[in-house]
């Protein structure tokens, strides 16, 4: 996810508190399916070859209150890394990139009418779209939870 024209969080303070938040959320959700993350802070979790895609807690926190969601059309074919949607917060516009290749099978109608769900529940109710995986092996290119947590700490 790329944030456009906004306030970049630069202070160590802000970052360390973010990191702590991300870790806390990660702990809460260990019972769920494994999530894989991109460096642009999207996540995907896969069940029966269908990937559910959303943005990470770090991303929703950096973006702030989401006020508008634009999602891809069902049936659209996308490649990993393709721009396939956008999120608008009070302070920023940001694109959403697909973590995997495939065909869009469903979008989250709930989140389109209530964008704040992304801030409230970015891993559960705030998912964005589902995609039928064309190349499941692509998941190996993504980070698992531990790698992503480390990535956040190091960057």
């Amino acid at each position: 996810m790329v944030v456009c024209s906004v306030f970049r969080v630069t202070s160590r303070l802000a970052r360390s508190s973010l990191g702590a938040q991300c870790c806390a959320r990660a702990l809460y959700s260990t019972e769920h399916k494994a999530r894989f993350y991109t460096k642009k802070h999207e996540w995907v979790s896969v069940s029966d070859n269908i990937g559910t895609v959303g943005i990470s807690s770090y991303a929703q926190d950096a973006l702030g209150e989401v006020v508008y969601v634009q999602l891809p059309e069902v049936g659209k074919q996308i490649a990993a890394g393709d721009e396939c949607g956008a999120l608008e917060s009070v302070k920023a516009a940001s694109e959403v990139y697909s973590p995997v290749s495939g065909t869009i099978t469903e979008t989250n109608k709930e989140v389109e009418s209530k964008p704040a769900l992304i801030n409230k529940s970015c891993y559960e109710e705030g998912w964005l779209f589902r995609v039928k995986l064309a190349s499941p092996e692509e998941l190996q290119q993504l980070m698992d939870q531990a790698a992503y947590d480390k990535y956040l700490e190091e960057h």
């Binding site: 969080v9 630069t10 608008e88």
Partner: protein, 412 residues
Amino acid sequence: MCSIARTRILLAPKVIAPKQIIPGAVSLRWFSNEPKATKTPLFNLHTKYGGRVVDFAGFLLPVQYSDLSLSESHLFTRKSASIFDVSHMLQTNVRGKDCISWFESICPVDLKGMKDGSSSLTVFLNDKGGIIDDLIVTKVNAETLYVVSNAGRMKEDKKHMRETSELFRKKGNDVNVEFWETSQRALIALQGPKAVAVLQTLTDIKLEDLTFMTSRMGKVAGVECRVTRCGYTGEDGVEISIPAADAEHVTEALLQSSDVKLAGLGARDSLRLEAGLCLYGNDIDESVTPVEANLTWLIAKRRRTDDNFPGSSIILRQIKEGVAKRRVGIRMETGPPARKNAVLKDAKTSETVGTVTSGCPAPSLGVNVAMGYVSESLKKAGTELLVNIRGKDIPCVVAKMPFIPSKYYIKK
């Protein structure tokens, strides 16, 4: 009051360019060898209250605080009061017998006609009538001026004031320009309907007499400050210039009231946009004149007759004959908010007719608002346009500004 081009920023901190650009920062050219961002005298207070600090025009300032989201903070300002740290802005003290003549040689303001202790919004102009910066000048008295201009234009403003005042002195005039460093002097804005009532409990200045765009020295929480009835939110309120060493003390004293909370740059931007106020670097810059920027009222009557400010021939011709483009307000009932650089089209012909210069969701209105420049023929409120966002044309209309009624304290 200043900012830059829409920039793409990766959220991953390491991939981010060393310096970046924020609504509110100006068209700064940032160099890799530039010193680290400056802390304002209130930096410790920001961290104490959970401020999310960013590098804004070279200053470490909070975008928001942990207690409120951006829209909550925005709405709190509209119904109660907020304190904004605006210490990054350039405060300049001008002294000398000829300070008014000098200042009128670089701005279209009528300082001679202003009373002592009154303030005015004005602009530094280049020879083509383009806006170098917008600023507030206070006529302290016939021999002293107090100027507040944009942080993002600090280098340009300092250079401009230094060079023009030197030339003026060489001609035998008496003018001295003193820039106050951020380390010496803080500036906070206290804005909102409850701002003045709270301040009155802490100051000996009779605020009933301090009308919009007037300024006085007085004690605030025991500290000698300059209090100016002005702001950047559309609300009643003041800006308080405080010796740096006492800035925390004064701010904490104001925060003792439950009617007052801290607010950051995020709310400041959405508040000023709803109030129809320009952000330098977005809505105005050196490529536009005050006439095109719909700020013709800044050209004081007396100065129009005198015809002797920078770019006056161009500006006066524009006032008489009109301009090709004009800054307007834009309102969108649904869809994504339009942001800087979004293309505006005529709803009837789909022809490109202008560009958005800033835009965001308006928390007070529940719709999206924006400012932009359109062809002169389309400037009328109610004109239907389209704005292109990520490839889609979305309907919008030209709207009157301010988007929300201003609440300035003007005595009838």
